[in-house]
């Protein structure tokens, strides 16, 4: 096995896998607090990509209500990424406020909340289509400024190329993961958030507002969704308002593979699926979209609770 080939796939797999992890963590966070999958998350991912595009490029496409419109300003990519993510976080809060909270307050079944989030997802996607049109949006190649497109490393006889965008994907994802873990593990508000996730009644007896922290969780989740949507969009383009759907399905495989509700499990699941896709032999590349689920089924046969999930008996 040539080392260069191995390293190349490692680079490819880790960079895309880290984005899968960030995206999937958005599902995990909400699941930890509410015990529900938020199906609107993939739509927020899509929204984030479109918002960043408009903020960074300053133009709309040829279809949709906003066809041909231009923005009065253009932001540098880093700033646009951040602003797009914050706006996605706000969209996430709106999802909680409109789709989840009213049902929760009425004590509705969790299944209803799930359907409700699916409804919000459809509305969001249709809104995106209405405003932006159904065409493909591609970030211009110079969106990252005048950086070289790739760095080449000589390894023995061969060569490993790390594309600049891959470095950006991995770097941004790593920063997000470290920031999130630091927040949840070591800050007072992060500990309060874990208290809400473990036992909402006890948390509120301690003076922790369950509603506020739930809203905050949706903000964080939306932020991660918007960020990862942009990162995927910069690498592969925005193939249309539905481009989040395929990634949403993949992220669902990630969280189940890693173990529902487990943050380390989600990160591991994202990396494993990213790497599996990268190491897929080229002659099988038309099955790339199936890799995540093939892997998922294989793992679940051996470990029904996922890689790092707790088995039913361990859960308190």
């Amino acid at each position: 096995m040539p080392l260069a080939w191995f390293l190349q796939n490692l680079v490819n797999g880790l960079s895309i896998g880290s984005v899968y992890a960030v995206f999937a963590l958005g599902y995990t966070l909400v699941f930890s607090v509410l015990g529900i999958l938020n199906f609107a998350h993939a739509a927020v991912f899509t929204l984030g990509a479109y918002l960043t595009y408009v903020l960074a490029v300053g133009e709309f496409g040829l279809n949709g209500l906003l066809a041909g419109a231009t923005m009065p300003f253009k932001l540098p990519f880093a700033l646009a990424l951040l602003a797009g993510a914050v706006l996605s976080g706000l969209a996430g809060m709106a999802v909680e406020y409109l789709a989840f909270r009213p049902l929760r307050k009425r004590g509705a079944d969790a299944l209803l909340a799930l359907v409700s989030s699916l409804g919000v997802a459809l509305i969001l996607v249709n809104l995106i289509q209405y405003l932006f049109g159904a065409e493909i949006y591609s970030f211009p190649p110079d969106v990252l400024g005048s950086l070289p497109p790739a760095i080449l490393f000589h390894v023995g006889e061969g060569m490993v190329a790390m594309r600049t965008i891959q470095a950006v994907l991995f770097g941004v994802s790593l920063l997000l993961l470290i920031g999130l873990v630091w927040f949840i593990q070591f800050t007072k508000q992060g500990k309060a958030l874990r208290a809400v996730a473990e036992n909402p009644d006890t948390a509120s007896l301690l003076g922790i507002s369950v509603d506020t922290f739930t809203l905050g969780t949706f903000f964080l989740s939306g932020l991660l969704g918007g960020m990862s949507g942009t990162l995927i969009g910069v690498s592969f383009g925005l193939s249309g308002p539905y481009f989040g759907v395929a990634y949403g399905l993949k992220a669902l495989a990630v969280i189940v593979l890693g173990g529902l509700g487990s943050i380390p499990g989600t990160v591991l699941g994202g990396l494993v699926i990213g790497l599996a896709e990268a190491f897929l032999p080229p002659e099988l590349s038309s099955y790339k979209e199936a890799v995540a689920y093939a892997l998922l089924f294989a793992v679940l046969l051996a470990r029904p609770q996922g890689l790092l999930g707790k088995s039913a008996e361990e859960k308190v």
Binding site: K191, R194, E198, T202, S204, L205, L206, G207, V316
Partner: protein, 233 residues
């Protein structure tokens, strides 16, 4: 200090407590005893606003608690140590205690109170960095009480602190309750262990199937024939 006026509580269509009235004066230990399922926990949950009364009023220091958000109640000086030692199993003992002081911002004071909690329950100090879920039942109960004290409450609600504990540890808990009271904390103590509760408290209420059927001086009530038969065996 705390006053319940004809409070009726229900879970959906299921009536749990009917027109209960009781009060706790500053400096007292008041106990609420009753059999399993009588509605004791339900009453405490209503005081902490985890449950909305169907009718009646709950007043704390002259203030009607209606409409107050549950996470606000503790800011008024009312701490609730819930039934079944609801420690946060996945966080350390120290983090549990620090979350008890969530509403406070005075770091120095919190550190001081943390030391006091460790002095009160030396076993918690030894296990400060252990996950709370790995403590024994008695230790978890101590942690739950210590955590409730971390907000410096004026009134402490205790829901069956002796439940499931060995008699010697239960006795230790009751001694600590008496000590806390002597230090100025007013206490509303819910218990099935009527013997110990009546000996610790100043006044008592007896709850039966959701209704208060007897009340008065704890010692006198303990001599009451009906109460003896039903609760003191």
């Amino acid at each position: 200090m705390l006053e319940l006026n004809a409070v009726t509580l229900a879970y959906g269509p299921v009536m749990a407590v009917r027109e209960a009235s009781l009060h706790v004066r500053q400096g007292e230990i008041v106990t609420l005893i009753g059999a399993n399922g009588a509605g004791k926990t339900t009453i405490l949950r209503a005081v902490s606003r985890l449950l909305d009364p169907k009718s009646g009023a709950i007043m704390f220091e002259g203030r009607d608690l209606r409409g107050v958000a549950p996470d606000r109640v503790v800011r008024l000086g009312l701490a609730h140590c819930p039934e079944g030692r609801q420690v946060l199993a996945r966080q350390s003992v120290r983090d549990n205690l620090e979350l008890g002081a969530y509403i406070r911002a005075d770091r120095a004071g919190i550190r001081q109170d943390l030391e006091m909690a460790f002095d009160l329950f030396p076993r918690l100090r030894e296990r400060a960095s252990q996950l709370a879920g790995t403590l024994s039942g008695g230790e978890q109960q101590m942690l739950a009480i210590a955590r409730a004290l971390m907000c410096r409450p004026k009134l402490l609600l205790l829901d069956e602190p002796s439940l499931g504990l060995a008699p010697i540890i239960a006795q230790e808990i009751f001694n600590i309750i008496t000590n806390l009271n002597q230090q100025g904390v007013t206490i509303l103590l819910v218990e099935q262990n009527a013997h110990m509760a009546m000996r610790t408290a100043h006044r008592a209420y007896v709850l039966e199937a959701g209704q208060i059927v007897a009340e008065g001086d704890a010692r006198k009530l303990a001599d009451d024939e009906r109460v003896r038969q039903a609760y003191l065996g």
